[in-house]
Subunit: 386 residues, 2 copies
């Protein structure tokens, strides 16, 4: 397959976008990516979205968005894998271009959650879990993560306060990102005093919902050169893996096997080891997921994720900076769009266009998007020429 | 890209499957395809489904089904393009294998509609249309098609009774298919006397909802040979195109531009003309759609679709047999599964395993799956060695 590069990116701020419809939100991101790429359109649209059918009474986003951005007759498809729908759309678009089936494609992640009342959103999010054996028993998505976090603290002896650095780092980085939902730093006191959601998860452990869209234009990498000092960003690896959809179906609920599998595949494809990665946009939907991701991807030993954070190694100057533009926690988590925000942020870091959030000398970045409570994990590695 | 062939197929009968859950239904089709192919599993699952989020409170079918059929760690993805979700899943699986990304994949279409009350299903089906400009105005999916049919009859001078042969042919063929929802022939009197749904569409013009799943295993075509007289079936073409999602957004609401575009692309890929096609599994969700499809794909002149049917050319012995196993009308239309039923039926015809429904000497078959009211159309051509 041929090598693929990013020609342009676009995104809206993650926010409550009462003034925009689903198509306007996605359209803004797509048209801004067209503008950034300097092209009028593409041959195919791959839309990552989880809940527009219920939240916006609109499915069929492939045709819907192709129509809206003026690309009738183009190919249009929606891809869904719960919270990893964004990365799944990127991977589908990537495969279409890498295989030679299309010469240009846009991957867009979009979610407009505020059209739905929040109690309904909780039920809609639970459709990412096992309907028969999790959701129908009354366990919400945050509750599943709370059970995992309780067990993790019990097994490895950590206390709730030890997860604070994940949240503090995310909010500090979000404060430097004009597209972030929350742009204020928090301190440890704010973390510890936050209202409880499902013990031990409090509001500062959990990522917020929101409305947002992010898009990336993909083209073959041949003949692309750095332009005005902006380096070409190439896709070095793409890998996906699933695991048992219900947490109780896994032998070890504290180990993200699908993250290990997809990151190991990605490292092999890119020909690198984890310590060559300059930044890692991980899926910190909850602080516990940040810890588990770092362990499964080889950045920390089993049970030692919080240690890495407590040692400051996840900060912008640390060994493996994470959530560099705020992560799910502060940039926000518009579920089906999140994976595309991660990719856009990695691209901007590798192009050295991340502004105050810039990781100095960033050349290799990884984005990992998690669907369900660890059951569908998609890893991408991007690399810049510079 | 490398050539891809079908190694096995599986399906359930389209029915009201009160005794089976969503995963059991899909699992039955997948495991039966594994059995037919003689393999224990695959590297990736591509699930076509439209409404499991609302009808079954379960999204995330990639991980959900990979888990259920014993393929943890495999790649798993759901693909959605309304009523063409089945063909879209097939196309995604095809691209994964053709590109070399995977060596084995299963495409499965599944829909379990009877878990949802029928008035909710009507609202869920309307999410395939434009939420702002069609559904929110109170127009249901059948009503959109009724408006198109009214206009067609007005423009070209046909009467309702002239659409009878589409329905009669479908039911006659469904009677020969043990997997069909309806297995009784109908006559013209039954067609004319059927209760009205939305004028001029009556019950015999409209395809029934239902529960069902159909699956196909795809592998590279190299080294496959006919086995015990069953020829190898190869994928000769795959093409997708979109059009305005709202019917009023099209210059000519009586012309399926996306069908024309995707079928013309498919003919070029396969290197054939329409008259070389031995059977055509078209998307007869409504009799009017059968007529429009035949015209857009080059089997009839504009406005002359019903003539082809009245002349008997769509019958098993005719120039272009359609709905050979019952079509959407009699086999049934479990929306996200329909495109995969079409593919399975074409494969069975080309393998000469279609039993009493067999089209003699069938070597080239086409399947066309339509999402929305003509807004997302995916065409596949399959060819057997014999």
């Amino acid at each position: 397959m041929r090598e693929v590069a990013v020609l342009g990116v676009g995104r809206t701020r993650v926010d409550e976008h009462w003034d925009k419809s689903l198509r306007e939100l996605a359209g803004d991101a797509i048209l801004s990516a067209f503008h950034d790429a300097g092209i009028p359109g593409v041959q195919g649209i791959y839309a990552g979205n989880m809940m527009s059918g219920s939240a916006n009474h609109q499915q069929h986003l492939g045709a819907y968005l192709a129509d809206w951005v003026g690309l009738r007759l183009a190919e249009g498809l929606r891809v869904e894998s719960a919270c990893s729908s964004g990365a799944a759309a990127f991977r589908a678009a990537l495969l279409a271009v890498a295989s030679g089936e299309l010469d240009t494609a846009v991957a867009v992640g979009v979610e407009k959650m505020t059209d739905s009342p929040s109690q309904e959103i909780t039920a809609e999010l639970a459709t990412a879990a096992d309907a028969d054996w999790e959701a129908d028993q009354g366990v919400s998505f945050v509750a599943i993560n709370a059970l995992v976090m309780q067990r993790y603290m019990y097994e490895y002896g950590w206390e709730h306060k030890h997860f604070a650095p994940f949240s503090i780092n995310a909010h500090a980085n979000g404060a430097k990102n004009p597209y972030a939902r929350f742009q204020s730093p928090i301190d440890e006191r704010a973390y510890l005093k936050a209202p409880l959601v499902a013990s031990p998860i409090n509001v500062m452990d959990a990522s917020p919902m929101g409305d947002g869209a992010a898009a990336v234009i993909l083209v073959p990498a041949d003949n692309l050169h750095s332009n005005n000092g902006v380096p070409v960003v190439r896709v070095a690896a793409s890998a996906a893996a699933t695991d048992a959809i219900a947490v109780h179906g896994r032998k070890d609920p504290l180990w993200l096997r699908a993250a290990e599998q997809s990151s190991q595949k990605a490292y092999r494809q890119a020909g690198i080891t984890p310590h060559e990665i300059d930044l890692f946009e991980l899926h910190d939907a909850f602080t516990i997921m940040a810890a588990l991701s770092l362990e499964a991807c080889g950045f920390a030993e089993r049970g030692e994720g919080p240690r890495l954070a407590l040692d400051g190694e996840i900060l912008p100057g640390g060994r493996i900076p994470v959530a560099t533009m705020g992560g799910l926690k502060a940039r926000g988590h518009p579920v089906g769009a999140t994976g595309m925000y991660q990719i856009v942020e990695v691209v901007e870091q590798l192009r050295h266009r991340a502004g105050p959030a810039q990781i100095e000398g960033a050349r290799i970045g990884m984005a990992q998007n998690i669907g369900g409570s660890g059951s569908n994990i998609i890893t991408h590695i991007l690399r810049s020429d510079s």
